[in-house]
C-alpha cells in the first residue's frame, strides 16, 4: 500500500500541494467528458456521416475490423508506455532502499503496478467515450454494450500495463547489472519501439488484405487485444466472431484468466526481476588502439579540432543505441521516400510532383536527423558542460566539435540516402549533386536549430520535461516553416508560374530561407548557454 501511494505521489508530483483536489477535478472533468461533452461533440457530425452513402458503405461492413484494429494499436501504445519510462526508473539507490525494508519484491512490484492505475483509469475515461460515441450512431449501443466496451478497454489497459511493467522491471534488472548491458538494452528497446511502430504500419497497410481474408485473423488469436475485441463484437452480433477459432467463451476465459495468472506468477516470482542479485557489475572494456576511421578523421581535421572531434566520435559510436538511431534514421527516410513516391505516382497531373517528392524526403530526413542527433547534445553532460566551461575553449569547444562530428556523420548518411534514391528515381548527375547537397544542408540547419533550442533550455536527461518541450519547439518550427512554404508555393505557383517551371525551385528556395531561422536561433542559444550558471 505504501509503495502504491509512493508511485501515485511520484506520478502526481506536479500537483503535490493539492493532490486530492487534482484527482477530484480530474475525475469530475472525465465524467463530464464521458457522459456529456463527448456525446455532444460526436452528435454534431457522426449521424450525418453515417447517413452519407460513401462513408456508410465503408464504415458499416468494416466496423469489426475497425474495432479490432483500434484495440490492437491501443494495446501496443499501453505496452510501450512503461517501457518508455525505463530510463527514469533505473535508480539502483532507490531500489536498494526499498529492498532493505521488510517489504517483499512481490509487494514492490504490485505496489508499483497498482500505483499506475489511477492515471491509467483516467486514460480509459478519456479514450473510451470517443470509441463509444463513434460507434453509437452506427450501432445504437445499449447500456450493457456500452458497459462491456468500458470494461473491455479497462481490461486491455490493465493487461497492457501489467505486461509492460513486467518487461520494464526485467529490463531494469538486466540493465542495472552493467554499463554494457545498459547500452545493449537501450539499443534493443529502440529496436522494440521500431518493431512496434512497424507492426502498426503493417496492420494499417494490411487492413484491406485482412478484410478480404478474415480467416487470417486467426494467426493473431494469441494477441490479447483480440480476446477483448471478440467480447465487444459478440455483444453486437455473435456472427461477427464466427470466423475465429476462439469462440466467446475461450475469449472470455483468456481475457479474465491470463491477466490474473500473469499477475499471480509475477507477484510470486518478482524477486527474479526485482532484486539487486549480481550487483552492479563493473564490466571493463579495454580499447588499446584507435581504429582506421578515427585515424582517417584525425588526418582530415585541423589540429585545433582534431582531439575534440575524435572525442565526440568515440562517445557517439561507442554507445550502441546511437548506431541504432542512424540505422533507424536512414531506414525511415528511405521507406518514407519509397511510400511517398509510390503514392505520388498515382496522383493525377501534378506538375510539382517530382520536386515535391524530393523536397518532402529532404524535409523528413532532416527533421528526424535534427531531432535524434541535435536534441541529444547535452544529455548526460551537465558535469561535462562545466569541464568545457572551465577550460579556455568554453562551451564553444563542446558545441562546435559536436557540430563537426555530426556533419561528418550526416555526410555519410546523405551519401547512403542519395545512392538509394539515385537508384530508385534514376537521377542524372546534376540531380544527384542537388539532392546530396540539399539533403546535407537541411540536416545541418535543423541540427543547429536543435542545438540553439537546447542552448536556451538544455535537457540533461533523455526523458525530462525540457527534452519533450524542446523537441516540440523544434518540430513546430519545422512544420510551421514547411507548411508556410507550401502555402506560399501554391499561392505563387499561379502568379509566378515561370519561377516554378523548374521542379527543383521549391527545394532550393526552401533550403535558402531556412538559414534566416537557424543561424539567429543557434547564435542566440549559444550565447544563452554560455551564461547558464
Amino acid at each position: 500500500m505504501k509503495i502504491f501511494k509512493n508511485e501515485v505521489r511520484v506520478r502526481t508530483s506536479k500537483f503535490r500541494k493539492n493532490r486530492l483536489t487534482f484527482f477530484l477535478i480530474l475525475y469530475s472533468f472525465l465524467i463530464f467528458w464521458a457522459f456529456f461533452l463527448c456525446p455532444l461533440i460526436f452528435d454534431q457530425f457522426m449521424p450525418t456521416l453515417v447517413e452519407m452513402e460513401e462513408i456508410s458503405q465503408f464504415l458499416i461492413p468494416s466496423i469489426a475490423m475497425i474495432i479490432e484494429h483500434l484495440m490492437m494499436i491501443f494495446f501496443i501504445a499501453i505496452l510501450l508506455y512503461p517501457l518508455n519510462n525505463i530510463y527514469r526508473q533505473t535508480e539502483i539507490g532507490f531500489k536498494e532502499i526499498l529492498l532493505a525494508s521488510p517489504t517483499t519484491a512481490g509487494d514492490i512490484f504490485l505496489g508499483e503496478f497498482l500505483g499506475k492505475m489511477p492515471i491509467l483509469i483516467s486514460y480509459v475515461f478519456t479514450l473510451t467515450p470517443i470509441f463509444v460515441n463513434m460507434l453509437n450512431p452506427i450501432l445504437n449501443l445499449t447500456f450493457m454494450q456500452t458497459l462491456v466496451i468500458y470494461v473491455c478497454v479497462f481490461g486491455l489497459v490493465f493487461m497492457g500495463t501489467l505486461i509492460g511493467t513486467i518487461i520494464m522491471s526485467w529490463l531494469e534488472h538486466k540493465i542495472a547489472q552493467s554499463e554494457k548491458s545498459r547500452d545493449i538494452a537501450k539499443a534493443l528497446l529502440m529496436l522494440l519501439s521500431i518493431g512496434m511502430v512497424a507492426l502498426i504500419y503493417t496492420l494499417q497497410f494490411g487492413f484491406q488484405f485482412i478484410m478480404e481474408n478474415p480467416e487470417l485473423k486467426n494467426y493473431f488469436m494469441w494477441y490479447p487485444p483480440l480476446w477483448f475485441s471478440n467480447i465487444i463484437l459478440y455483444t453486437f452480433d455473435a456472427t461477427l466472431i464466427s470466423t475465429y477459432i476462439l469462440n466467446i467463451w475461450t475469449s472470455l476465459a483468456l481475457a479474465i484468466l491470463v491477466p490474473v495468472v500473469i499477475l499471480y506468477i509475477s507477484y510470486k516470482s518478482a524477486n527474479k526481476f526485482y532484486s539487486l542479485e549480481g550487483g552492479v557489475e563493473k564490466a571493463s572494456s579495454v580499447i588499446e588502439k584507435e581504429n582506421i576511421f578515427y585515424k582517417f578523421n584525425r588526418r582530415i581535421m585541423g589540429s585545433k579540432w582534431e582531439g575534440l572531434v575524435i572525442t565526440q566520435f568515440k562517445e557517439f559510436f561507442r554507445k550502441k543505441e546511437n548506431i541504432t538511431k542512424l540505422v533507424y534514421l536512414g531506414g525511415l527516410t528511405c521507406v518514407y521516400g519509397l511510400i511517398f513516391s509510390f503514392s505520388m505516382s498515382e496522383a493525377p497531373n501534378d506538375y510539382l510532383s517530382g520536386g515535391f517528392v524530393i523536397l518532402t524526403i529532404i524535409f523528413v530526413g532532416g527533421m528526424v536527423y535534427g531531432l535524434m542527433l541535435g536534441s541529444f547534445i547535452y544529455v548526460g553532460s551537465k558535469d561535462l558542460l562545466w569541464v568545457y566551461k572551465r577550460s579556455p575553449r568554453n562551451v564553444n569547444g563542446l558545441v562546435y566539435s559536436y557540430i563537426i562530428t555530426m556533419i561528418i556523420i550526416n555526410t555519410i548518411l546523405a551519401l547512403g540516402v542519395t545512392i538509394f534514391f539515385t537508384i530508385l528515381f534514376e537521377f542524372d548527375a546534376f540531380y544527384v549533386v542537388v539532392f546530396f547537397v540539399t539533403y546535407l544542408l537541411y540536416g545541418i540547419m535543423v541540427l543547429i536549430e536543435a542545438i540553439g533550442i537546447q542552448g536556451f533550455s538544455p535537457a540533461f536527461q533523455e526523458k525530462g520535461k525540457h527534452m519533450g518541450m524542446n523537441i516540440f519547439k523544434l518540430v513546430s518550427i519545422q512544420i510551421g516553416v514547411f507548411m508556410g512554404f507550401i502555402f506560399l508555393m501554391v499561392w505563387s505557383g499561379d502568379t509566378l508560374p515561370d519561377l516554378f517551371a523548374w521542379e527543383l525551385t521549391p527545394t532550393i528556395l526552401f533550403i535558402s530561407i531556412h538559414p534566416t531561422i537557424s543561424l539567429p536561433l543557434f547564435f542566440m542559444g549559444l550565447r544563452h548557454l554560455k551564461k547558464i550558471e
Binding site: 554499463e179 563493473k282 564490466a283 571493463s284 572494456s285 579495454v286 580499447i287 588499446e288 582534431e306 582531439g307 575534440l308 572525442t311 568515440k314 562517445e315 561507442r318 554507445k319 548526460g380 553532460s381 551537465k382 558535469d383 561535462l384 558542460l385 562545466w386 569541464v387 568545457y388 566551461k389 572551465r390 577550460s391 579556455p392 575553449r393 569547444g397 550558471e533
Partner: protein, 271 residues
C-alpha cells in the same frame, strides 16, 4: 598584490533571491594551501566556480594568478586546474583518451600531453587500467582520473572541491601527500573546499570558514582553534557554526510523547 595567487574584492554572487556569496574578500599568497570550510550550501562551490571563471560574479571582482576573472578569463583558466565536486567524464572514453581530451582543451602539445599522462597515471596508480572505458571505473578511480585531469596542464593554482570524498583511506592518504608535495616541491597554490576537518587541519596553511555566503573567520588552523578556545579544529568549527552538541540533539529520547522524562520513569521502574 603581485605576490598574491588569489585576491578577491567584495566578490558576490546572487541567484534570484538567494545570495550565494556575499562580499567575499580573501587574499592567498603563492605556495599557500587554503582551505574553505563550511556546511552544505554555504557558497564554497559557487566561490570556486567564480574563481575559475565558470560563472561570473554579480558584484565585485577577483584576480587569479594576477588575471582578472572578468576581463582575462581565458588567461586565468590556463593557469588553473580544477577538480569539481561531481566528476564530469565521458563514460565511453578510456582514462587515457579522456586525459588526452582535457589536454586538448588546454591547447597542450601532443608530446607534453603524452608524457604528462604517463606521469600522472603512474602517480595515481592507474597504470594497467588506462585503456579501460571510464564506465567500468569505480567512484574512487573516477575521482583519481579527475584529479589527473586537474593536474594535466601543470597549473600554478589548483582548486580541489572535496578531493578525498570518494577515495579509500590509502588513496586519500596518497592525495594528501600529493597536495603537500605539490606545495612544498612544486610551489603550487592549492585551494581546497572540504567538509573533512582533520584533512583541512593537516593540509591547510590558512583556513576560511564560510556560512550562508559570508566569510565568518579566517586564519591558520592554530589561530582559529585558539580564537575559539577549542580543543581542535572540529570543536572550533562547531562553535563558530553554533551547532548544538549531540547530547542536546538526542534529548528527545529522554522525553516521552507528552514531554515527560522517560529516564526518570525507567529509573523508577528499576527501583
Amino acid at each position: 598584490m603581485e605576490n598574491l595567487a588569489i585576491a578577491t574584492k567584495d566578490l558576490t554572487k546572487i541567484f534570484g533571491n538567494i545570495v550565494a556569496v556575499r562580499d567575499l574578500n580573501i587574499e592567498i599568497r603563492y605556495g599557500t594551501t587554503y582551505g574553505l570550510l563550511g556546511p552544505n550550501g554555504a557558497g564554497k562551490t559557487t566561490t570556486v566556480r567564480m574563481l575559475n571563471a565558470i560563472i561570473s560574479p554579480s558584484n565585485g571582482t577577483a584576480l587569479v594568478g594576477g588575471y582578472n576573472i572578468l576581463t582575462q578569463a581565458n588567461d586565468a583558466k590556463m593557469i588553473c586546474g580544477f577538480l569539481p565536486e561531481s566528476p564530469g567524464l565521458y563514460s565511453k572514453l578510456t582514462a587515457k583518451e579522456f586525459l588526452e581530451f582535457i589536454g586538448e582543451l588546454y591547447y597542450l602539445p601532443k608530446v607534453t600531453i603524452s608524457s604528462r599522462i604517463d606521469e600522472l597515471l603512474d602517480i595515481f596508480d592507474l597504470e594497467g587500467r588506462e585503456n579501460d572505458l571510464l564506465e567500468g571505473y569505480s567512484r574512487g578511480m573516477k575521482q583519481k582520473v579527475c584529479l589527473c585531469a586537474a593536474l594535466i596542464q601543470d597549473p600554478k593554482i589548483i582548486f580541489l572541491d572535496e578531493p578525498t570524498s570518494n577515495l579509500d583511506p590509502a588513496a586519500a592518504r596518497m592525495v594528501k601527500n600529493l597536495i603537500s608535495d605539490l606545495v612544498k616541491k612544486a610551489d603550487k597554490t592549492i585551494f581546497i573546499c572540504t567538509h573533512l576537518l582533520d584533512a583541512a587541519e593537516e593540509l591547510c596553511d590558512i583556513i576560511g570558514i564560510i556560512d550562508k555566503g559570508e566569510l565568518k573567520l579566517q586564519g591558520s588552523p592554530k589561530e582559529i582553534i585558539e580564537s575559539q578556545n577549542a580543543k581542535d579544529l572540529e570543536d572550533a568549527y562547531l562553535k563558530i557554526m553554533g551547532v548544538t552538541h549531540m547530547e542536546d540533539l538526542l534529548t528527545w529520547r529522554e522525553n516521552g510523547p507528552n514531554g515527560e522524562n522517560l529516564n526518570k520513569k525507567v529509573k523508577k521502574k528499576r527501583k
